[in-house]
């Protein structure tokens, strides 16, 4: 199914779509308010973007530096070329420690690698401990947003899920009650976990340390209680120096939710006495994306989700319509790099309005890259026959002045006098769910000429 087909599914529940649209726009507004309150915000964005560009141009050396420093601090470092290797490494660490119960905090990388099903097949219990991720896990779904994983669920749906899975009482979707029940349930999981898996927000080459940011405190509850902490990171998470965290931590939460900083920004440099800490560095297609000059900057992404919150398409189509680990505008430039055929409809899921690029804290030219993917896709991937024929005809009309003027007159005539069932037939995508504007008798050219004549 294409993005448009899946978006049509999501749009069947109009009230829900309207809520989704407004809820995300509200987050965008909070981001604006928060960002505008920072003096020098644009300078921070510029420098952040420049640091990320430097990182990509020197990534091999930074990775080596990071590894050396992490090893010196007693952290074990592993490298995985793809998802399979990543999952095998994690399995092996767990097996070596006889770990059967695992708590996980948010990590889009482990979603990308499909780690949960891999571990569950080996009889290992994996519990997602971020509340949003916990909700989608028990619903047997995937996150529909990278920062707000369960934004597609209503509170009543969460209520039903909790009744079924953790035995709560019916509460008509009371968020305080449900959150508190989840807290009790997850406490028990944290206290009995053998190992904790977390993501990595930033990895610092200069110190070999990592930073994990959460609002709930779940990454810290997991990693400090369990004997083993495994942190999985994509190669692009590297930043050169610790002082650069000052820049990225100022940008991240403000761009994501409008908070001035996440509740917890935890700096892990050494494992605690008697504990083990592992870092798995993963490629899984990133070096390939690095090779594509036009799309390289997509690796600057710090996963704040601002491009999703602002995107008029995302807000009205829902994260699942993208059928990809990372949805929304940034996902639509990352996913085609992994599987061009499967994700060929994603770069078209945009109005190219550029709002995503405007809010991106690391200044990725997202809408330009979407446009560039389109050029690649129409060459490499077979396009639907209707779209192809229409574009061919349109090309012919636009290239011929007389034909263009004639078509314009025809169109205006038809829109004015043709019966409704013809004008609003299936061929007219612009007439779906809305009325076209009233048609005037003249086109602009005619109107302008008449106007000039009258005014002398």
């Amino acid at each position: 199914m294409t993005h448009a087909d899946k978006a049509a599914e999501f749009n069947k529940n109009e009230a829900k779509v309207n809520w989704h649209d407004k809820a995300l726009w509200y987050v965008r507004e909070k981001r604006d308010k928060s960002a505008h309150g920072v003096i020098g915000w644009e300078h921070i964005r510029d420098v952040a973007s420049g640091i990320k560009a430097n990182v990509l141009s020197n990534l091999d050396n930074y990775l080596i530096e990071f590894e050396k420093n992490a090893l010196n601090n007693g952290i074990k470092v592993h490298w995985a070329s793809d998802a399979k290797e990543h999952n095998e490494i994690v399995s092996k660490i767990l097996a070596d420690n006889n770990a059967k119960k695992v708590v996980k905090s948010k990590s889009m990388l482990t979603e990308e690698c499909h780690l949960n099903p891999h571990l569950e097949a080996q009889d290992i219990e994996v519990v997602d401990t971020d509340l949003g991720e916990f909700i989608v896990q028990i619903a047997k779904e995937t996150p529909s947003h990278i920062v707000l994983p369960a934004i597609h669920k209503t509170k009543e749906e969460v209520d039903d899920l909790f009744q079924e899975h953790i035995g709560t009482k019916p509460s008509e979707g009371n968020p305080e009650y449900l959150t508190n029940e989840a807290r009790k349930h997850l406490r028990n999981k944290f206290l009995n976990a053998d190992a904790a898996i977390t993501g990595v927000n930033f990895a610092i080459a200069e110190t070999g340390g990592i930073v994990v940011c959460t609002n709930e405190g779940n990454a810290d509850m997991g990693s400090h209680l369990a004997k083993v902490h495994i942190a999985s990171m994509g190669i692009e998470k590297i930043i050169p120096k610790e002082e650069h965290l000052g820049i990225f931590l100022r940008l991240l939460a403000r761009s994501a939710t409008g908070q001035p900083i996440t509740t917890y920004s935890s700096l892990f440099n050494k494992p605690a006495e008697g504990k083990e800490m592992h870092i798995v560095i993963v490629d899984n297609g990133r070096t390939e994306q690095l090779s594509r000059e036009d799309f390289r900057a997509s690796l600057h992404c710090i996963r704040c989700g601002a491009c999703m919150n602002t995107c008029p398409i995302y807000r009205r189509s829902g994260g699942h319509s993208y059928d990809a680990t990372i949805p929304g505008p940034i996902g639509s430039i990352l996913s085609p790099g992994k599987d061009l055929t499967k994700h060929s409809s994603l770069p078209f899921a945009s109005t190219l309005c550029g709002s995503c690029s405007n809010v991106c804290p690391v200044k990725i030219n997202i809408h330009e890259q979407l446009y560039k993917w389109r050029q690649v896709i129409v060459k490499d991937v077979k396009q639907p026959i209707v779209k192809k024929s229409i574009l061919k005809v349109a090309g012919g009309v636009l290239a011929n002045r007389k034909l263009y003027n004639f078509s314009g007159r025809m169109a205006r005539f038809m829109l004015k006098y043709a019966p409704r069932f013809i004008v609003y037939s299936k061929l007219n995508a612009w007439g779906k769910a809305r009325d076209l504007p009233e048609v005037k008798g003249q086109n602009f050219d005619q109107w302008y000429k008449v106007k000039r004549k009258n005014n002398g």
């Binding site: 420049g50 141009s57 990775l63 508190n180 709930e216 810290d220 900083i261 006495e273 490629d283």
Partner: protein, 194 residues
Amino acid sequence: MGREAILKSVKENKPTLIPLPMLDLNNFKEDINLLEEFKEKVKLVGGSLKELSSSETLENEIKKLYPNAKEIVDCSNQSTSLATVTISEGTNPKDLQNIDLAIIKGEFGVSENGSVWISENTFPIRVLPFITNDLVIILEKEKLCLHMHDAFSLISERERTFGVFISGPSKTADIEQCLVVGAQGAMSLSVFLF
């Protein structure tokens, strides 16, 4: 396997070296009252804040705020008699599951976001500030910096083990975007300035 393949692929695919840009701190100069800004931001992120007057003692004020706390760990070094539980490096982190209140000394606060830096030097078990039901951070009111750039320069010489910037109590808005304070970490955070 992984390592060599990844490094080789990065080397082949990376662009020519782009220089590291410099941050110009002059862009962030602001003539503000650090204390007032800090107070405002602690409240914004859901924390509470109390500035001790000369007639108030830390002990009494904490008792007033948390009258029902029974299991109390005090790592603040302020010679209060509040502690009912003592912990050390050897304590099993899981034994802290019933702690009602932890009192920890903050090293400094950051005005731009209401966060406080606490590091392993000031509490012996890493999970303490997260697993405790309520958290009190004691902070000298002179120890405030303007923004995160200053914050990182303040901790640049530390012994690096574990440390965390904490901004308010744990929270979530994962159910229909309704903000609920008290997710998996501490249910409340109170900053006491003295």
